[in-house]
Amino acid sequence: MTPDLLTGTTLRSRAARALGDSSLTRVLRKTTSYRDGLRQQAESVLRNHDELVAAARRIRADNIAQLPALLEQLADKWEERGGQVFFAADAHEANAYVVDVALERGVEHAVKSKSMLTEEIALNDALEAAGIDVVETDLGEWIVQLAGQPPSHILTPAVHLQRDDIQELFRNVDDRGADLSDAPEELAAFARRELRRRFLQADLGITGCNFAVAETGTVTLVMNEGNGRMVTTLPPVHVAVMGMERIVADWQQLDLLLHLLPRAATGQDITVYVNHLTGPRDTGEMDGPEQSHLVIVDNGRSDMLGSEFREMLHCIRCGACLNTCPVYRQIGGHGYGWSYSGPMGAVLAPLLHAAPEARELPQASSLCGACHDACPVGIPLQDLLLGLRRRETERQAPPSEAAAWRAWAAAWSRPATYRATTSAAARLGRFVPPGLLPDGWTDSRAVPRPDPGGGFRARLRREGA
């Protein structure tokens, strides 16, 4: 079972824990700023990057507005090519379908390439409960699986671990790892050997989906290691699990997004592999899966469609907003307590996660807008975060507090009442004990002492020009 870091904890407690770990904060600051720099460098190479981002935002809005028709076309095309399609309303339906496919085929060993959606729906837990052995094969994802931790970054899941942590984990995998050094090349070579065995023995391969193309019924996976090719080449059954929003209409749109995604994600002009899959193995082909299943998952996304937060469905999961975020850079992914972290995770949490603890994640932002600047599809994340805070405040705030804010707003809308209240506050403020303010206001900041001169207006009258 992947541990749940969210339930029963608070943002404050998780953040305090992260900030107390000096090696974690050091590695976070180093890698996030490095990756953020790579992104900016790679984007600046293209002469019309800004134009591409603006177009991508418009095109993603079109994709989402056309979602039912595009999904219908995708499903038809995938089936036309001999693949199976399942529409899953929620995590339970998606997991039950994959487990059924596995049981029907007598699957014992499943291999997976990295998929944040399968983290979201906890697919591994469902498969393991059905007695199926599941191995993550992305190097970073395998490392966190061995560590029994959730990923701390949507792209580089083991960003919070250091080489000696990984050495320790690998040494415990089996005897062959006993003499491993902590050199990254040696650790990676060990992973290659170990996981190669798993690829060859697996009878089910599970992937996510970076983009599906409705026009031809194609699932596109981008990767650098090649595990996503192994998973879709060797096992006789392939299941691709996609969030229903990860779709484009045609190859023109795919071309645009495939130029933006790797630059934003890792500062690459193209990933080592871009794998375009259209259905299962075709007649006359000698490898590739006999069965290809496409599981299209809603799991709360359709509620976003009908809300003011619809634009979050434009997200292409590049991770750029994590690397650039001043909060993520300090507390890392585990500070958020959920598989999606950073600004995108803070928006998605209250929309997709049922736990009440998820509703405070929009507070994990300075609203500086760096995420908006970094987003390759131009999502105004800070607007969405602010909207979610408003929604949560309206849900939570006692009527008396709302009334107090309204009274304040009314008073400060007129010069006379503004003057009266500020001068009263300046004169009387020094007598107010700090503890009188509501909980939370003075936890991390001191109450400023009132200006003994009676405030700016009084001073202006006295000393003015």
């Binding site: 290691e225 595990n227 879709t232 080592v272 490898d287």
Partner: protein, 216 residues
Amino acid sequence: MERDVFLENLRRKLASAPSTPSAHPLPSGTGVPAVRWPEDDRPPVDQFLSAVAEHGGGARVIRSRDELAQFASDVIDEHGISTVVATTEPVIEELAGVLVQRGVELREFDGPSSAAADLGITGAMAGIARTGTVVVDGSAGRSPSLLPEVHLVLVAASDIVETPAEVWRTLPDRFDGRLPSQVVLVTGPSKSADIEGVLTVGVHGPRAVWIGVLTD
């Protein structure tokens, strides 16, 4: 869930969305703009050769059968190759002679188990000059370009286009709308930076990629 029920729910939600004024309204416009790369006046093959090197691969222009044999021979020496798997394309058959002469075992690809060789040789339907990418049609075999530690791939100089857009935007037309079950773009050897961001090569896919660019 039934497809129709799923999609009907989406239609209903879409119709019920509030029109909230946004501080960042959506941009207007139509179409998909072309990606503008920096100016580069060099011929595509020259761009291709330097991009391959930048991405950690090796590439050589091949002008004759002898040069092709020499190229294969050099790769065999460099990596101490003793078994080779090849997809059956005409240009690859030309290599059979040199391989046999070098005492290397050559297998014709007939399924994943045959692909467990030291070297995999495949063709490519296109190359991309800007990124040093080869485009491999998986219908000739997905594993020969994936399982071996070394991948040798042959691409015709006349099939090298300048930008990725010339592949992605034309892919459906190249196959009359019916794509092979797999098309994969390969740019250099397999890489990972999952351990402390340190670049490691050959994590799952080939550790080395050699590209022969065949001129007429």
